[in-house]
Symmetry: C2
Subunit: 577 residues, 2 copies
């Protein structure tokens, strides 16, 4: 089809919008792709809608290719199913809740596990119906605390969410792998640069889960990758390489010292230096007292040990305890446990009082530490793990640093930033059990199917593509998602040039190419070129001065410029496409 | 593409759902096209989604063909623009309102005039940018008091809404006509039986507006059509053929009679008979006292006269006064106006007390009436219009009846029922003025563009098609919107039949036909045939007993059955399609 710039509903802006911080947000607004309506709520103008639909098409084709079946659930949902799974409450402020005219509680769907599960329960009853994978490409709602960066983190957004239902764990693994391959195909077709990151360490029995992160310095998520191997992981999922065990025999006994006011690691190291003890921050042991609450249980005091040169990473701490909640102690907690001497907590005091103590994997048998002596203004030097204290287990809580060792033989870790574009997750039976899905198996007994849950941020991908593919002049779309493949600009006032441009556009359109023709009569060539670059169409054909000699320019967006004969332009573009 | 019944996410039901009253609702649920989630809120299962998308495609193609440009606004909207136009309040209980986490008022868009207007204001500033027509195909929300009939009147539904912006009234007329033609093309392509009904009588200065009503006995709207001409109108828009004027001279003088307890028309006619006056209900004159409030003004008492044999049609009454509100009198109103004697109100008392009196168009000069005498237990006989009373104007309020005269030369009126599927409306400058859209015209002065507003109920059309096209066995889809064009059913256990069915399906698919193959191994032919009929695919190919002789059956859904050679099946289906 041919679209005409003279009538296209578009106004490009020379200035960045005041509220925009990242390039994709600035450029998508300036180039007239999206328009802000409310915080985190955007309209899709004609160009933006074309890109969004093109992304949807790629996602749909690859989902269909793995046998997933498309359906569409409402966005406006009743409270009851979300009550059954407790998510009506769990979602907290992120859920848009409303009442209908009869006072019934409703919500705007943030994700649809409940609906898919209820529908499978409703329609299917025999193992013969399984496996089945269902998906939708649908508008979702989350009342984000900080909507940001235009459509990168919106409150109304388009997602592809799919769910697999299998009768066996092996079946789930197979469905999961199919999705993993489909996701790779989707992101490869779109030309996104991404990493597949392990999303759970598995330390606390979590199921397999991976995130697809688009690599971007403006990403909110930090992930690590190995310098020398195929390994990437969320910071939450990084598995610390264990410390090296040392012999305990022969190590000097632990000695308590008076350490007035040494309530920080820096002050402690300073004190050690002052008394002639060779020690750095990494030789000290931080003892963090936290409280942990398993679902349906009471808060329980727990000790966490980590080398003094590392901060605790709250995200890692929370991920490690999931599904239990974890929180730092309040003043009243300290009052409750008088053996916790703030600034001087040590592993011995915790253990002596029956508190579970979990340690960073570097705290192994034979390692010796300077740590709190469980009394004010005192520390103990030479506390040897396995002799003076023994952790009840290990935990991933220490911050991850650039240069930390990668898994065996893969060099060291590099820290990168990314934007989550996909997530695949072996969900298991959480929802099918909560919603009591009973299926007859081969033996005539009932069984509960196991689920996988898989998401792609479809509207977010439009921002991600803009984020990864732009230069200082504007957007640089890959041909597969570009609103138009070819931008024909007439920059020659000769009537023949205008006519030739129309003919070329018609021929391209007949060949199935989406063409935008800049036919604005009173607009200068300079403005036309600037707009073409800003809009980011992969190929621009310019009928300028050299058209008098029968020549046109083909400008590859973000690449070279060719001058060729007008008569060869059609064939050349088809070749380039 | 080929879809396999063995893995299709579908369960057909033999029983009608308990809450379904109309055929489309029953069949769409039974055939597994839709599934109820909450009152007026439905999921689109794979088959339903295919039909919905096919309808969307037809709508989109025809909208693009008239140069309308597609964009997409959010469904979640801020309160402010709807406050500007007062619709935040005017919408009453039909609007889904909610608050976000920061307490800001938001709504789910029931229609998007405000958003389109604001966007045009934002992007355009010169007459050169006009005309422009924009549209979206989008999910909308209305908290209907009585959601009904499945997706026929839902609370979450898909609509195509478009808006034209023109600098002149002639331009608006042109945009309106373009839409009218596009709508005819859309409904013709879909095979809907419909009428285009005048939607406003224009009596009170309303702008041009027409409704497209699908003809259906289960429709909520009543409309009239002429027995002998191309005329159809909403009941609200029917223009009453005026009465015939008669000479006043020579008519007997009005005489007041005592008519004890004759507070109903029937009692009045009975009384007349008892005193030897030849009169029927149509010779009496009802005097209705109502109150009317123009926007921003006070309630004002108004008299409405109509022949005694007709009830007042509240919908017609309301439409006639729009945009003013109209209401029946409350007891306290009667107390306020002592000259209103309930049951005995007459035109003279109203006029004598300065009340505006509007009459049915049949009440013309020289017509003589029996009517109230403005005192209890008294009526007056021989009240002649133009002599004893003179209405201040005419009004359309009387009920319309089958057999009433149609406009000049078109015979009489027939009453029919329909379902609104489209509405085109010359909206004018209501929103552009409210939102202060100022555009520079050719003379460098500012002008306010005029708008047209045009809607199609896209998801409702799926129900309408099912309503108009079904039989007692199931749905009967037209090929353009059917989820599949061909349903191949194997009803022969011979392996060769299964193989031949697969080959035929592959050949059809390669030819661009959407094929559903019923490959379920353990399902009886009878069940397969029943399902094929219920699903309503236009053509079914049955490989049954006669396949042993190289033959297949082609069953045209809702039509004939052909038996032809297997080898000719592909060509025959292509010919039928």
């Amino acid at each position: 089809m041919i679209t005409r710039m003279s009538s296209l509903f578009l106004r490009t802006l020379r200035e960045d919008p005041a509220d925009a911080e990242v390039p994709s947000h600035k450029l998508l607004v300036r180039a007239g792709y999206i328009r802000r309506v409310a915080p985190g709520v955007y309209s899709w103008l004609p160009l933006g809608l074309r890109v969004l639909r093109n992304v949807e098409t790629v996602v749909r084709e690859e989902m269909n290719a793995i046998g997933a079946q498309e359906l569409s659930f409402p966005a406006l949902l009743p409270r009851e199913p979300y009550e059954t799974t407790n998510r009506w409450t769990e979602y907290g402020d992120s859920l848009f809740r409303l009442k209908d005219r009869k006072g019934a509680d409703m919500l705007l769907g943030p994700t649809h596990e409940e609906m898919f599960t209820a529908t499978v329960k409703d329609l299917y009853s025999s193992y013969k119906d399984f496996p089945v994978t269902l998906y939708q490409i649908q508008t979702k709602y989350r009342d984000e605390e900080r909507p940001r960066a235009g459509i990168l983190r919106g409150r109304e957004f388009v997602m592809k969410d799919s769910y697999s239902f299998d009768m066996s764990d092996e079946g789930l693994e197979e469905s999961y792998q199919k999705h993993r391959v489909a996701y790779q195909r989707i992101f490869d077709r779109l030309g996104v640069k991404y990493a597949i990151c392990a999303a759970t360490s598995g330390a606390m029995g979590g199921s397999a889960s991976e995130e697809f992160l688009a690599i971007s310095e403006n990403g909110e998520d930090t992930f690590v990758s190995a310098t020398d191997g195929d390994y990437a992981a969320n910071v939450e999922a990084v598995v610390t390489q264990p410390g090296v065990e040392k012999p305990i025999d022969g190590q000097p006994a632990a000695v308590v010292h008076e350490t007035p006011d040494a309530v920080t690691i820096a002050a402690l190291v300073e004190w050690a230096k002052s008394v002639g003890i060779q020690a750095e921050a990494k030789d000290t042991l931080k003892c963090l007292a936290v409280k942990v609450r398993k679902p349906g249980e009471e808060w329980e005091l727990t000790g966490v040990l980590l080398p003094g040169d590392r901060e605790a990473d709250m995200k890692r701490l929370e991920a490690s305890f999931e599904p239990a909640e974890v929180a730092l102690l309040e003043p009243e907690d300290f009052a409750k446990y008088p053996f916790l001497v703030k600034g001087y907590i040590g592993p011995k005091g915790l253990a002596d009082n029956g508190v579970t103590v979990l340690a960073d994997p570097r705290v192994v048998a034979g390692t010796s530490w300077i740590t709190g002596a469980d009394q004010a203004n005192h520390h103990v030097v030479g506390m040897v793990c396995g002799r003076d204290f023994t952790p009840d287990g290990f935990i991933e809580v220490a911050e991850v640093r650039e240069g930390d060792p990668a898994p065996e033989g893969m060099g060291t870790l590099t820290l990168e930033r990314g934007i989550e574009i996909g997530h695949i997750f072996q969900l298991g039976r959480k929802y099918t059990e909560a919603m009591d899905v009973q299926i007859l198996d081969q033996n005539g007994k009932t069984a509960v199917p196991t689920m996988g849950s898989y998401g792609i941020g479809v509207s977010r991908l439009v921002a991600v593509l803009a984020e990864q593919m732009h230069d200082d002049k504007g957007l640089v779309w890959p041909a597969e998602v570009a609103p138009f493949q070819v931008h024909v600009a007439v920059a020659n006032k000769d009537e023949a040039a205008g006519k030739a441009a129309e003919e070329l556009a018609t021929a391209l359109s007949a060949a199935g190419v989406e063409v935008l023709i800049d036919d604005r009569p009173k607009v200068s060539p300079g403005v036309k070129f600037k707009d073409a670059e800003l809009l980011g169409t992969p190929f621009a054909v310019i009928l300028g001065r050299s058209f008098a000699d029968g020549k046109v320019e083909i400008r590859v967006r973000g690449g070279e410029t060719l001058e060729i004969a007008y008569d060869e332009a059609l064939a050349k573009i088809q070749e380039l496409l």
